[in-house]
Symmetry: C2
Subunit: 434 residues, 2 copies
């Protein structure tokens, strides 16, 4: 089975090609720029064909991942040349128009499955990610794709192109557009954001962070979504009227109407208690992190960079509101607090296990007869940086004093000092190390 | 020194009265409703006087905590009767108008200190809370108040009434107003929020939670802030023009202008990298919590209710996206996930120590001579639910077999089963329990 990813040399298309090729599938990617194409082909170990038509005509599944603007023409170009019994999918953020064009232009016997992955190319697995499918009619390919996504633990939403676009006119259309407008207003009023943060509650700071996040998106993608979703026009107009209405209620000091409008809007939103709970937690995570770190000053701390995934381990010896410094082997690393997350003890141990060289040792010691060697091994295992401790031998005989037994334990360590602790433990219980 | 809290029987005023009276200060509260007043007086152990003028005339500090609308008249009423050398403060969300009226109406020799605490009456301490002071001129009282707030670890911002109001026109004026307008638009378009959440990315869900949170505020307070802050009119108008401009760029398909406006707004916002980092963390806290809990199914879990602070401990035996069930002594408790936070091991132990009855036990066992009793005690202490283990006696003599020593350890447990584990540990190392 061959899968052609049209536009598979960049962005989400490249992510899809990478992901599927790692699953062992036979992938061909297309893309206008030959140099990029050859480089991606080499890096991912997938085939590269510059010509969309050629790639589409030999594939069993064609996934179109080109900018929204280019999607209709790309479908018109490749739909007619596709093999009978093959599948055509798109991954654009609007579903109505591409669905209609795919149905119109796909060759006879080609199954159509419009699709909208609700994530960007930064994710690592599909686990928990939302993917919207808007099948025109469900067929064999639909079942296969569904099962594949299910086995990857994705959250699959099946709906119609119409409902999808209507929901997106709020999800992406209204909120994003309003946030961008807020950012633009702040710019026009020439407010110093950094200064305003000092005045602000944690919820305001989180709001600002969210506004910054949305405004920093790819503006061309935002533009495409705003122009291509047919429901967005109504949404914009309703918002504009609503804002004007509320503004006028304030200007004319109509308290009664304002209060009633605001209360009514609040009631329409779902489960307020949960919303408060979740946002409280989101706010507190940042302040709690700082207090966790304060307690660990001068001690070993593990931090994971939230984007690169890189883990830094060292003694925490400096902490300011924005930065911290870890020191290891006399080298200090300064890290931005907002870019790292603190590993808990379990995560730190797991990371050490995965990354440090484990060294295996055997230790033999005498204990009174009637001892339980497994309990001794478990106790060794509970020491810091010691793993995999188990009894490999017990021995009674001439070389061992009367009433005693020799127990040999094999254990691994991920830190040189841990061996000393093992010896100290056994000797502490009166064992003679042999 | 007597402190009068005008409007101290409700809301933030009541919180201030409670907080200061716990610090041992002599408080008198006023409030129109006599029944409420007497009840608060009894509950907090503070004096209640119905008459503002009477209370203000005997106080060394007067703190005005009445609704914004009522603030000017209240100042005009009580300012003239205040003692020479006393202090007048207000705690309203706008600063320009109250500052001016306080200066005009306060009796001769009264110091004026306008103030805006950026928190509501749900907080427990001032630690880390933002308080804005806009002193007209700094005097003795200012120094005292500043030192007090500093000793409570509050974050104090000193600025002018004008700068305060201008910042607040963004912090509270623009963002809150836009969020309320979004909620009202969603209501008008009759979008099913619960349904839309299914389609959505975690950032959208966090946005919705924030919108719900802001919209659920006291609408009368929002109304007052919007009408009383003189800068808000300009902010509303600038936003309205900006939204209209951006909307028109979309309607006329002016990609170039839209992209340039959005990029320019993004650049004006501060440090994007930190904003992304912080919001990523805020988003991930909710999903991470679920995966932490999944790993603990069938095991003991401690959960703290985020509002009441109540801790629930039990075996986690059910987990759905919204709810979880803990079972203890055959009683099951169903909790809403958004309302609880998971305690880590240290927090759980600390809670048990603070709340369970500790029982103290002594255990004596024989060990080979040359053992280190302190290491044995430390090992006992590392067992789950065991604390305070220490050596209280060592003994060699007739009753102890040749070459052995008897060690007595005193330890405390916070869980009945822990004693069995102590005995098992010592016997596991071959000790004979005496």
């Amino acid at each position: 089975m061959k899968i052609a990813v049209i536009g598979g040399t960049r962005g989400l298309g490249k992510w899809i090609a990478t992901f599927l090729s790692r699953k062992g599938l036979d992938i061909v990617v297309t893309g206008r720029n030959e140099v990029t194409g050859e480089s991606v082909s080499k890096k991912l170990g997938v085939e590269y064909i510059q010509d969309n038509i050629k790639a589409a005509s030999i594939a069993d599944i064609v996934i179109i991942s080109v900018p929204i603007d280019a999607t209709p023409d790309t479908i018109r170009e490749i739909g007619p040349v596709m093999k009978e019994g093959s599948l055509i999918m798109d991954v654009t953020s609007v579903k109505k128009e591409p669905s209609e064009i795919m149905q119109e232009y796909a060759a006879k016997g080609v199954e159509v499955l419009p699709c909208h992955p609700m994530f960007g190319p930064r994710i690592r697995t599909l686990d928990g990610q939302v993917i919207v499918l808007t099948p025109i009619k469900t067929g064999e390919w639909y079942d296969k794709v569904f099962q594949f996504l299910e086995s990857e633990n994705a959250r699959i939403i099946v709906t119609t192109p119409d409902i999808h676009d209507r929901m997106m006119s709020i999800v992406q259309g209204l909120t994003h557009f309003a946030y961008i407008s807020i950012a633009r207003t702040i710019e026009k009023l020439d407010i110093d954001i950094k200064e305003s943060r000092k005045f602000a509650s944690p919820i305001y700071n989180l709001m600002l962070d969210t506004i910054a996040r949305i405004t920093a998106q790819n503006p061309y993608l935002v533009y495409s979504i705003q122009t291509k979703n047919i429901y967005i026009k109504e949404t914009h107009e309703t918002f504009l009227n609503t804002f004007t209405e509320l503004k006028d209620l304030i200007a004319t000091e109509n308290q009664e109407e304002f209060v009633s409008s605001m209360s009514s809007a609040a009631k329409h939103l779902d489960d307020l208690e949960s919303a408060l709970g979740r946002s409280d937690k989101a706010i507190s995570v940042l302040t709690e992190e700082v207090s966790t770190l304060k307690k660990q000053m001068g001690r070993e701390v593990g931090l994971r960079h939230i984007y690169s995934g890189k883990v830094h381990i060292g003694i925490l010896d400096k902490l300011t509101p924005d930065f911290l410094t870890l020191t290891k082997n006399k080298t200090s690393t300064r890290l931005k607090l907002s870019n790292v997350e603190v590993l808990n003890n379990e995560e730190l141990l797991q990371w050490k296990l995965d990354n440090y060289t484990k060294k295996s040792y055997d230790i033999s010691g005498t204990f009174p007869k009637g001892c339980n060697p497994d309990i001794i091994a478990n106790t060794v295992n509970s020491l810091q940086d010691v793993v995999d401790a188990k009894v490999i031998d017990t021995y009674q005989g001439n070389q061992i004093a009367q009433g005693n037994v020799s127990v040999t334990i094999r254990y691994s360590i991920i830190n040189e000092n841990a061996s000393i602790a093992v010896e100290k433990l056994l000797m502490g219980f009166g064992s003679q190390i042999r």
